[in-house]
């Protein structure tokens, strides 16, 4: 049995090696929230769009409908010689790992997860640093000394956000209360604005006046609820300030667009490298958004304070604890 299996794997590997990875057939596989989720996936899509606009190179896109299709889609792209293939999101790591093993000549880049293979580039962000910043801003803004956090699912990636956010709040106001809620327990938690809105309303009734949404497409409902109730909300992943000017306090921007763009660019130039890429405040991989849509909400004193905190995190004067280091938030 085992011999048979190995034989079939070798056969597969051989057939795969016949396909030359020229890295001129870029592709992307979005996660199930779809490329127009106004958040994480759309960030990647913006990078894809920009790359196509800059270079004229078309990028093959695939939006899977369920878990099985993720692997199927990756496999089919790899078989047709697409490379590099960008896999968007931690939920794809198992599928990407399997397909990458079977197609050692195809280059894969996965965002938000780490896969240790010679043909995979893992791009992760220091979400804790960006979340720390917006947490600090939330604590400066709140009048009720109570701020909220709404995450999509109780999974390590989202805990990384909430952990950084809490540290930021406590840095400014050690006695402020942080109320944490999660939307659900399936992938649908990232695409459920109705539930997001309900949770936001419940937090507002508990005294929350600034809420940070780390929930992908679910955020739309949270911002709407904040707009209806006259509270403030903080966006995530993409710069979402424009969605509700006056309501959006800021956005914790994760430059997934840049990450995707750079993957395609380096691959085309032949400088694409496997291994781990970590993007934090210092590389502008994460940041807080300040633009014409929220400049009235953020006073010059706040801006100055934020600049100091940002510099202190980069210099190491402020140590932001990373949840994924020890699987705990130390609280």
């Amino acid at each position: 049995m085992k011999g048979v299996f190995l034989a079939s794997v070798t056969a597969l590997a051989m057939s795969a090696s016949l396909v030359h990875a020229a890295d001129d057939k870029p592709a992307v596989v979005y996660d199930q929230a779809g490329k127009f989720d106004k958040s994480f996936n759309e960030g990647v899509y913006n990078g894809v769009k920009k790359y196509t606009a800059d270079t004229g190179q078309k990028i093959r896109e695939f939006e899977p409908k369920n878990e099985a299709q993720v692997e199927q889609g990756l496999r089919r792209l790899a078989k047709r010689g697409y490379s590099p293939i960008v896999a968007v999101g931690y939920s794809m790591s198992a599928a990407t790992e399997k397909v990458a093993k079977d197609f050692p000549n195809i280059h894969f880049s996965i965002i938000d997860s780490v896969i240790d293979l010679p043909n995979v580039q893992s791009i992760v962000f220091k979400e804790q640093e960006g979340s720390f910043l917006v947490g600090a801003l939330a604590a400066m803004k709140t009048k009720t000394n109570t701020v909220g956090f709404i995450g999509a699912m109780d999974v390590p990636l989202i805990r990384k956000f909430s952990c950084g956010y809490k540290q930021g709040v406590k840095y400014i106001a050690p006695n402020d209360k942080v109320i944490v809620n999660m939307v659900g327990s399936t992938g649908a938690a990232f695409t459920d604005p109705t539930k997001g809105s309900e949770l936001a309303k419940s937090q507002f009734s508990q005294g929350v006046d600034v809420v940070f949404a780390a929930a992908g497409g679910t955020g739309i409902g949270i911002y709407q609820a904040a707009a209806d109730a006259g509270k403030y909300a903080i966006g995530v992943d993409s710069n979402q300030n424009y969605l509700h000017p006056g309501v959006m306090l800021t956005s914790m921007v994760k430059r997934v667009d840049q990450a995707a763009y750079n993957t395609y660019k380096t691959a085309a130039e032949g400088t694409w490298k496997p291994g781990l890429i970590t993007l934090g405040l210092a590389d502008n991989g994460v940041s807080w958004a300040l633009d014409k849509y929220n400049e009235k909400q953020v006073t010059p004193e706040m801006v100055a304070k934020m600049k100091t905190i940002r510099a202190d995190i980069i210099s190491g004067k402020i140590q932001v604890h990373d949840y994924s280091k020890n699987g705990s938030c130390n609280d």
Binding site: E63, A68, Y90, A94, T186
Partner: protein, 369 residues
Amino acid sequence: MSQAKVPVWVNLALIPLLNISLAFLISGLVIYAIGQDPFEAAGYMLYGAFGYNEGIGYTLYYATNFIFTGLAVSVAFKAGLFNIGGEGQAYIGGLGVGLVCLALDHTMPFYVIAPLAIIGAAVFGAAWAYIPAYLQAKRGSHIVITTIMFNFIASSLMVYLMVNWLKSPDSLSLNSRTFEENAWMPYLHSLLMPLGIDIGDSPLNGAFIWALLCCVGVWLLIWHTRWGYQLRTLGTNPTAAKYAGIDTSKVTIWVMMISGALAGFVGLNEIMGVNHSLLLNFAAGYGFAGIAVALMGRNHPFGILLAAILFGALYQGGAEVAFDMPEITPDIVVVIQGLVILFSGALEHMFKDRIEGFFIRRATAAQGK
């Protein structure tokens, strides 16, 4: 009044075929309306699902899940119970499979792990169905409501277990460690390779054979045992069943547990057959689709097998269409799948009564001569 009967093939073949054709016709119009070529899409769909070995493998791999959940729904339905909880039972059944594999893959050979994994799937799936069944039988809580609620509890439980206990500690992604190879359900392509049969590389695995065995098992159980008779009596007329001395609450509980066990076998296909590790969301809607499969298969194991293959083809062909015609978004594929369910499930009487009437009139006329 004559005893004119509708020929069997009308009910089993003609009406489903008409329904499906109509569904595809309307789907074609939808695709035409968004400015795409419906024939091209149909071509991709058919070719993707049945046109080459690998595609067929994927079709049957999806069908395996639909057979399990379709059987699960139909067994309960035969006893008049509407089990909407296939999703959660499949999820928890997979947990059972995963725990067996994680516990034994270092020490035991495949032929020990496989039967234990089957038992694990059955026990966990059945246990998850037991609670709603008990509440229905003894407390009168409606099974539709409780099984739906148990789907949510199942997904929350899985997230909790994966995050806090089962995920491998050194990564952010929510997977358990990968099982050793002796805990993998063998792929059919690697089983058939030594025989010189090349069926292409697809996730189709040994669970498909188990699914076929389950079809036979369910058929024997429902129509060829005393217990199956009790079950059908309960489904046809609960009052009569009670009057005849059947312990209805006992039958209710057992039927639901068998239903849950069947749904739990999805875990064999997904966890042991394909993913080789525990992960989230592998149930991916198969439990809900099982309701449509059972409806379309007329609650008969053979019909369910055919309906499951049709659904497998829709999934596989649909993925192919979305892949090769990027203008047809996955949402349009969902519309097509929805139309098939609508016409073959919900609207089945649209044609049924008229066509049956036609054949009855014809038969009566023939007798009259």
